[in-house]
Symmetry: C2
Subunit: 226 residues, 2 copies
């Protein structure tokens, strides 16, 4: 059996969640959109394979990445039986190297509206979306989508985009700051308002130490499904 990995790569453009797709340059399904994937090599494990594939497409290393699920229907690949283990990844969309996108015919699509993909890749994306919504309700993973310095309104807009809700800024601010994970900067971002919003940075030490801890940022997480 062939063994492959596929990557659901998420980015955030300030307004909505996006996923990075590639246009296949080989048969079958040449020219159709698909997730970036690749076969596992003899000397690597699956996580390394996924990281390698992600680096090929984005130029980025040390990216947040997590195993999603395996996809194993006997005839999911019409040519030869292939097991694929899907990984999802969060990248800072600004760090993404544009020149690679032409090489791989890659393009960002809104998670809310992207084309039909090959094989079972649409299901992979759907499962990844659900997993992200679930996990981000309890763990501070969405910071991985933002640049090193970000404002609370930016962060709130990200959360609102992920869950398609509007949140009270006062309560949001209090919840997020009460985690102790953010460090206020002296500087302000004046781009999106007259008053300007303070920049914050992640406290890397606390972030790494508390990453697994369960937070509670989303109202009514009991409506989430995994």
């Amino acid at each position: 059996m062939l063994v492959a990995v596929d990557c659901i790569i998420f980015g955030f453009d300030g307004k909505e969640l996006k996923i990075l797709l590639v246009q296949r340059h080989l048969e079958p399904e040449l020219g159709k959109w698909s997730l970036m994937g690749g076969f596992v090599q003899p000397e690597e494990n699956l996580k390394q394979a996924a990281a390698r594939v992600l680096t090929l497409l984005t130029g980025l290393t040390n990216v947040y990445m997590e195993e999603l699920l395996s996809f194993s229907e006997p005839n999911r690949d019409p040519v030869e039986r292939t097991l694929s283990v899907a990984y999802f990844a969060f990248i800072d969309i600004n760090k993404y190297e544009q020149q690679l996108s032409t090489e791989y015919h890659a393009e960002w699509f809104p998670l809310a509206n992207f084309p039909k993909l090959i094989f079972d890749h649409n299901i992979m994306v759907q499962k990844a979306k659900a997993r992200v919504q679930y996990k981000a309700a309890f763990h501070p993973i969405l910071f991985e989508l933002l640049p090193a310095k970000f404002t609370l309104p930016q962060l709130q807009s990200l959360y609102q985009g992920v869950y398609d809700v509007t949140m009270d800024k006062g309560n949001f601010s209090r919840k997020v700051l009460s985690t102790g994970l953010l460090v206020k900067q002296a500087e302000k971002d004046k781009a999106s308002s007259k008053k300007g919003a303070y920049y914050y940075k992640l406290d890397k030490r606390k972030y790494n130490a508390n990453f697994h801890a369960v937070l509670n940022i989303i109202p009514n997480p009991d409506t989430l499904y995994i």
Copy 2:
């Protein structure tokens, strides 16, 4: 590459969590303890393979089962490169068919104290334990370990065993009953006390409908790790 599944099978004997292990009857590692596993067959997907393996060992079907993670180090199996996807399962320990245990040289071991296993199976069990603790803090999966009729003290003892904590019976009872998932029976279990404790059954309809909903049964879930 060979593709296999391995099953971490959990049971509850009324006092502590247990896992079902088998003694290998083939080389390599003949005679050593291991998880029950098997290779994926041409006409089945991984979940079906895991279910088949579980049925072989326990005689049970329609068992709660969930994909854990893939295990893919190139030399995890010294004979030939084998990818294994681990699944964990919950069974009612009383329904387990004893006669199969002799056939497969199977035995229940306390999760808190079980032998060294082959390959990376110890890591699989460790990951499964963490996942169970995580998931059971938010979802009512532990009911799968109990018989159809059970008492609140039994359920509390299960939760206490899984998290190695003691909980207030009043608060526990209120929380569990507030989910609306339990139906009180007229009958009492008089085995473990003079007064006797009422039996409860799961409301199957509500259980299936609300299974994914996030409950909040465990105090301080923010100390959990996934």
